[in-house]
């Protein structure tokens, strides 16, 4: 049980690479925090700093009210699950799970109880005598989880633990990890570059890019109210579509205009942009925020030419060309369109995102959603 606090933490590697920049972040006690970002964004470095495997260049790292900057990993009461599982190949599954407890000189009987409990829970009891080399990826992952579980750590760290599993297994392991968090009642920090994993698991998500935190919030906040185009693009499949254009203020409210296209801005957006008529903006439309079946009203229809139809089973992705730009939307699978046809897509205006094309920051959610 621990609260983790980063206070203006920087990490510079010996080769000059500035991996984490001025990180200030509070991970609450018993929270499931997901660090999300593309590779090289500093999320794994951040995790390694929590584990004590990387030193801080400057700043402070606190566990509760204890400064742990220079505490070695074994003084921190953390457990970690790695992407490659990192099981000890020369030890049996039992010994792999027991190793951390043995290093802490726990009584043999207590070790045995804990190892068997964990094995039972993860349904790997029949594998206890095997070597990791003989296990499948999913089984190895369970052993790695077991090794961390038995320690009953105050912080549970996971570095892309599901990336090496096949798709079906990944979904079921997600559910298990969530259940593990519920039952263990401890702080989880989970690193991933998979937005779906982040959205399903997290209490809160930290989106990082180039060592800088882009946004911190609940999955809903991150998805519904992205503070900049990077966050907006990183979540959502297919990714959000952008259209550059201008704001036009009229008596009836605000309009987004680009060529023939005219979209009416919802009330809360128009209020935010009061008095900024004529400024150029970047409009964001999430792939699922259009509807082809609904009858278009006034100023909410996007007409475009279909260039590709990509069925994905439950839905289909519709690739359209609008004003020399390619846009992708997610539509119902009962729609039958052929490339070359023109389609009228009714945009869900209430879910529009508006960004400043210069700074890429959101013009709607800018301040209100920051921590």
């Amino acid at each position: 049980m621990a609260r983790i606090l980063f206070n203006k933490v920087n990490k510079r590697y010996a080769n000059g690479f500035h991996a984490v920049k001025d990180l200030t972040l509070e991970i609450r006690d018993k929270e499931f925090m997901v660090l999300l970002g593309p590779s090289g964004c500093g999320k794994s470095t951040t995790l390694n700093m929590i584990a004590g495997l990387e030193e801080l260049s400057d700043g402070e790292l606190l566990f509760d009210d204890r400064i742990v900057n220079d505490a070695p990993p074994h003084e921190r009461d953390v457990a970690m699950v790695f992407q490659s599982y990192a099981l000890y190949p020369h030890k049996s599954v039992y010994e792999n799970i027991a190793f951390g407890l043995r290093m802490r000189r726990m009584a043999k009987s207590e070790i045995d109880t804990r190892v068997r409990d964990a094995a039972e829970r993860l349904e790997i009891t029949h594998l206890l005598d095997s070597r990791p080399g003989n296990l499948s990826g999913g089984q190895r992952q369970r052993v790695a989880l077991g090794r961390a579980m038995v320690r009953e750590p105050s912080v549970f760290l996971m570095d892309e633990p599901l990336s090496n599993l096949d798709a079906a297994l990944r979904i079921s392991m997600r559910a298990e990890i969530k259940e593990l968090h519920r039952s263990m009642q401890t702080t989880f920090v989970f690193v991933t570059h998979d937005q779906a994993e982040a959205l399903t698991l997290a209490d809160r998500i930290v989106v990082m890019r180039d060592g800088v935190v882009q946004q911190i919030g609940t999955p809903d906040e991150i998805y519904e109210r992205p503070q900049n185009t990077f966050v907006a693009s990183f979540l959502g499949s297919p990714p959000i579509n952008y259209l550059d254009g201008r704001i036009e203020m009229t008596a009836g409210g605000g309009l987004f205009r680009r060529g023939d296209l005219s979209l009416r801005l919802p009330q809360h957006v128009a209020e935010r942009l009061e008095g900024q008529g004529g400024r150029s903006v970047r409009l964001g439309i999430r792939a699922e925020d259009v509807d082809e079946r609904r009858e278009g009203g006034r100023d909410d229809v996007l007409s475009a030419r279909v260039i590709s139809v990509l069925p994905i089973g439950s839905d289909q992705y519709l690739g359209v060309r609008f004003d020399k730009q390619e846009l992708f939307f997610r539509v119902g699978k009962d729609l039958r369109h052929k490339p070359g046809e023109t389609v009228d897509l009714t945009v869900d205006l209430s879910r529009l995102h508006v960004f400043d094309p210069e700074t890429t920051r959101s013009l709607i959610w800018g301040d209100s959603a920051s921590q």
Binding site: L53, Y88, M103
Partner: protein
């Protein structure tokens, strides 16, 4: 509905032809490998076989033409001379022909030094092996797994010391050993052999450790290990093949070393086996069969070491070379 499969007579014949050609090629390949292996084995083993065979022959038989590969009158006189040699049996120029009246072969008075020299060689080799591991393993772990300034530079520096030929180092080594007052002692050999072998040990182990995933090290440390414990509990068991390679390499290098031993040893107190054996060959009156018997004894310990560790040798040497 099953479709009828039609195969023409011609294609059937072709199929049989291809099969025959494939089997013939396979047979030729096997024969080439077999014959080559036999030739290579003879090339390698014949000198050793002659060494062993002639060591139990008399001087007369050893010089017979054609040579006797299998001795007609095997004798253990050379081995007796080595193992039963005593101080009082002084062999001089006058009485030496009495030693082996049949052949006139001469057993040198230094025969009694052979076993002590073997002992010296063994002590030096074992000490070099142990010290190599004590120094080389932590050094290699640090270089492979800990990021520190001038990490690459230190690897290159260690390797650079091996670019200099040993002969160039003899004089500086001699001065160091002399000033340390260690001339004609076993430590002089141990110290200088370490300088020769440690760079290789570190190099082989660094290659191997680098092939082992960093995450194992991290996992061990999160599991509660210090760096040293991670090395002992995780890395050492996994690097057994390369450790065996290091043990063999360092043992054989020190066992066979000649140049430095020649410089630093003067008496039987520190003389190693190669020095003594070389001295035999420069005396043309010494029986060939005796020299060969001494040679047999010289190869016994390395052969035993090699047989014990045989199953690890190949994987150890390649595992270091080909990085996963």
């Amino acid at each position: 509905m099953e479709a009828e499969i039609r195969i023409s007579e011609k294609s059937r014949q072709d199929a049989v032809g291809f099969r025959r050609a494939r089997l013939r090629a396979l047979w030729v390949r096997r024969m080439v490998i077999f014959v080559s292996a036999v030739i290579l084995s003879i090339y390698v083993l014949a000198p050793v076989a002659w060494l062993v065979s002639s060591s139990v022959q008399t001087e007369a038989e050893i010089t017979s033409v054609p040579p006797h590969w299998i001795p007609e009158e095997p004798t253990l006189q050379n081995y007796e001379a080595i193992f039963l040699a005593t101080e009082d049996e002084e062999i001089t120029y006058e009485n030496r022909s009495g030693v082996d009246p049949v052949s006139g072969g001469f057993i040198p008075s230094t025969a009694k030094n052979l076993l002590p020299a073997m002992g010296n060689s063994f002590i030096v080799a074992c000490a070099v092996v142990v010290l190599n591991l004590l120094v080389g393993v932590p050094a290699a772990y640090a270089i492979a797994k800990i990021r520190f300034m001038a990490r690459n530079a230190s690897v290159y520096f260690i390797l650079t010391t091996r670019v200099i030929p040993d002969i160039a180092l003899v004089v500086p080594f001699f001065l160091v050993i002399k000033n340390l007052g260690l001339l004609d002692t076993l430590p002089s050999l141990i110290i200088t052999y370490l300088a020769v072998t440690v760079p290789f040990t570190v190099f082989i182990l660094v290659q191997y450790f680098e092939g082992l995933p960093d995450e194992l090290d991290k996992a061990a440390r999160v599991d509660g290990c210090s760096r040293l414990q991670a090395l002992i509990h995780v890395y050492l068991p996994l690097s057994l093949p390369s450790l065996v390679a290091v043990v063999l390499f360092t043992f054989l290098t020190s066992w066979n070393e000649f140049l430095l031993a020649l410089m630093f040893t003067q008496t039987e107190a520190s003389q190693t086996l190669p020095i003594l054996l070389a001295a035999f060959t420069s005396d043309f009156t010494i029986s060939f069969s005796f020299i060969n018997a001494a040679g047999v004894l010289a190869i016994v310990p390395p052969v035993i070491v090699a047989i014990v560790f045989e199953r690890y040798i190949v994987s150890g040497l390649t595992a270091g070379a080909v990085k996963g």
